[in-house]
C-alpha cells in the first residue's frame, strides 16, 4: 500500500512539475513576442494602465535575466501564490480572478460528475441484466457519449431557454440582482444553474452507463461467476458480486475521465456565459491574457490531481487487492 501511494504521488508530482514547466516554456518558445502582442492589443483599450503593465511584464520576462533564473523565479513566485496579473482585469492578480470564478465551476462540475457517475452506473447495471432495457438504453448511451459537450448545451439552451422559456440561457444569476444570502438570490442562482448542469450531466451519463454495462457483463462471464453458478448460487448473489467488482474500475475511470469532463465544463460554461473558469478562459483567449490563461491551467491541473488522489484513496479503501499491496492495482 505504501508503494502504491508513493508511486501515485510521484506521478502526480511529476505531472505538476511538467504542467508548470509547460506553462513556463510555451510563451518563451513560441514564435513571435507574446508580451508585445498582449500589450499592443490591450493598450488600445486600456491606455492608462498600459504603462504600468509594461513595467510589470518587463520585470517578469526580463530580458537581462538568464533563462534558468527566470525559471527559478517562476517557481518561487508560484509557491508564494503569485500567478501574475491579469491583463483584462488589470490590476487584479490572476489568483483572485480565478478564485472568484472557481466556485461556479465547482458548483457545476462536482454535482454533475458525481451524479452522472452514480446514475450512469445504476443504469448500466440494470441494462446488463435486462435485454429489453439494454436494447433501448445502449443506443441512447452511445449517442450521449458522441455528442460534443457544447452542442448539447446549445440544444438545451435553445429548447429549454428560448423555445420553452423555462430557464435563463446566460449568466450565473440575473443582472438585476447582487449576490447576497437571500432566498431570491439563491433561487435565481439555482435557476441559472439547471441547464448547464443538466448538459454536463447528460453527456457524462452515457459513458458511465455503457462502461458499467460492459463491465458487469464481463464480470458475469468471469470465472468466479461461473463457479458460483455451477454451485447453484442464485442470480441475485452472482449479480451482487459482479456489480461490486465492476464498480472498482469505474472509480479509476472517474479519475481518468476527469480531464475530459473538465474540458466539457469549460465549453458548456462558454455556451451559457456561466461565470466560471470556462468563461474566464474565453475572455483570456480573446484578450490574449496569457497570465490568466496559465493561471487557469494551473488551477485545473491542481484540481485534477487532487481529485485523482482522492479517487486513489477511495480505490484503496474499497479494493482489497490494492489494500493488501500484493498486486499494486492499476498504476
Amino acid at each position: 500500500m505504501g508503494r502504491y501511494f508513493r508511486r501515485k504521488l510521484l506521478i502526480y508530482g511529476l505531472t505538476f512539475f511538467i504542467a508548470v514547466s509547460i506553462n513556463f516554456a510555451v510563451p518563451r518558445l513560441m514564435p513571435g513576442d507574446p508580451v508585445a502582442r498582449m500589450l499592443t492589443r490591450n493598450s488600445v483599450s486600456n491606455l492608462e494602465s498600459s504603462e504600468a503593465m509594461r513595467g510589470y511584464f518587463n520585470d517578469i520576462f526580463g530580458l537581462d535575466v538568464p533563462l534558468w533564473k527566470q525559471y527559478l523565479n517562476y517557481w518561487v513566485a508560484l509557491f508564494q501564490g503569485d500567478l501574475g496579473v491579469s491583463v483584462f482585469a488589470f490590476p487584479a492578480p490572476v489568483s483572485s480572478v480565478v478564485a472568484d470564478a472557481l466556485p461556479y465551476t465547482l458548483a457545476l462540475l462536482l454535482p454533475s460528475i458525481l451524479l452522472s457517475w452514480i446514475v450512469g452506473n445504476a443504469m448500466g447495471a440494470m441494462a446488463a441484466r435486462n435485454k429489453f432495457l439494454d436494447n433501448g438504453a445502449l443506443p441512447i448511451g452511445y449517442v450521449l457519449t458522441a455528442v460534443p459537450y457544447m452542442w448539447l448545451a446549445i440544444l438545451l439552451a435553445w429548447v429549454g431557454g428560448i423555445i420553452l422559456g423555462w430557464f435563463p440561457v446566460a449568466g450565473g444569476y440575473s443582472f438585476a440582482l447582487t449576490p447576497a444570502f437571500t432566498w431570491t438570490f439563491i433561487v435565481d442562482l439555482v435557476h441559472h444553474w439547471v441547464l448547464p448542469f443538466l448538459s454536463l450531466f447528460l453527456v457524462a451519463l452515457g459513458g458511465w452507463a455503457i462502461g458499467m454495462r460492459n463491465l458487469v457483463i464481463y464480470e458475469l462471464e468471469s470465472d468466479y461467476a461461473n463457479y458460483l453458478q455451477a454451485l447453484g448460487a442464485p442470480n441475485r448473489l452472482v449479480r451482487r458480486y459482479a456489480f461490486r467488482n465492476a464498480v472498482l474500475p469505474q472509480v479509476t475511470g472517474l479519475a481518468l475521465q476527469l480531464g475530459v469532463v473538465v474540458g466539457g465544463a469549460l465549453v458548456t460554461e462558454v455556451v451559457f456565459a456561466y461565470p466560471g473558469l470556462g468563461s474566464l478562459l474565453l475572455n483570456a483567449v480573446s484578450n490574449q491574457d496569457f497570465f490568466l490563461l496559465q493561471g487557469i491551467l494551473l488551477f485545473i491541473v491542481i484540481g485534477v490531481l487532487v481529485f485523482n488522489f482522492l479517487a486513489d484513496i477511495v480505490y484503496v479503501l474499497i479494493d482489497p487487492r490494492t489494500r493488501l499491496g500484493l498486486e499494486g492495482g492499476q498504476s
Binding site: D223, Y224, Y227, A230, G232, A233, P320
Partner: protein
Amino acid sequence: MTLEVEDLQVHYRTMKGDVRALDGVSFSLADGEIVGLAGESGCGKTTLGKSLIRLDGRMQHVGGKAVLDGAELPIGDDRAMNTHRWKEVSIIPQYSMSALNPTRKIGKMIAELLRSRGKSYREIKGELVHRLELVGLSEKVLDNYPIELSGGMKQRVVMVLSTLLDPSLLIADEVTSALDVTNQKAVAETLVRFRDMGFVKSMIVVTHDLSLVYQIADTIMIMYAGRIVEKAPAETIIKAPKHPYTKALIGALPEVGLEHGDERLQSIPGKPPQLLNPPTGCRFRDRCPLASDECAEEPPVVAVDAGHEVSCWKAED
C-alpha cells in the same frame, strides 16, 4: 450405479451452425468409482463435464439423458438443475486459481453461498474447518482474500468448497494441469482421499495427462471427436489398449509412470476432425493406420472383455 449417461448429445450453437461437441456419449459410473477421461484438446471433455452440471449460454442439450442416483438430471433446464448442483453434482473447475471472488474474504463468500442455498454456515463451519485442515490449510484462510493465498492453496480451498455438501458426483476438470509435479501428485492423492472418506461418491477426472490419471483412476475413458472410443480398467487401457487411437496415445507415452506425457498427445500426426460437420463413419479414419472400407460405416461398440468396451471395427483383432 451412481451415474448413467445415455446417448448424450450437446451442441454449441454458433453463427456457422451447430458444433457437435458431444455426439452420442454413453457410459456409466459405479458407486465409489473414479473414472479418468482423456483425449486430445477439443475432443469434448470439458463439454461433457459441464453438461452434467451446468450448460453455458451457448450449449444446447439436443438429446440423451443422464441419470444420477436413480433420478434423471434435468440437463437442459437451468433452473431445475439448480437444486442438484453442489448437493448432488459438483465440479472442481479448470480455473480453480480464479474461481473465488477476488473482493470477498473466503469465509464470507462461503457463508453467503451457503446461505443462498438454504444452508446454515454456522452449522457447517465445523466440518468446513475440519476439511480445510485435512488438506493442510488452517482456519485462518477464511479470513483471507483469495490473492493472499498461493495458487495451490486456492486450489485446495476450491476442492474443499466444491465437496463440502458431499455430492454423489464430482467432476474434476484439468485440476492438475496448472500445477508443478509435486502439487499435481498431492492434488491427485487428495481426490482419492475425498472418495475414500466418503465426501464424494464417484468422480470423473478430466485430464490430458494419462500417466497421472492412471495412478488414481479405476477406469479410464478415451474420448475422440465428441465420442467415447474406448473404456476399460486403468490397467487395461495402459497395458492392453484395443482402439487404434488409444494405442497411438499410449505409444506416444514414453513410459508409463513417468511424470510427463501431457503434451505428448499432440504428437499423433494429423488433426482431429471438425465438429461442425463431422464426417460419417469412424471419426478417426483419417489418421488411423488400420482404416479400411468398412470404417466408412459407424463402428459398433464391442465389449471385448468385462468392463472393456471399444468402438472400432478392428477391436477384436
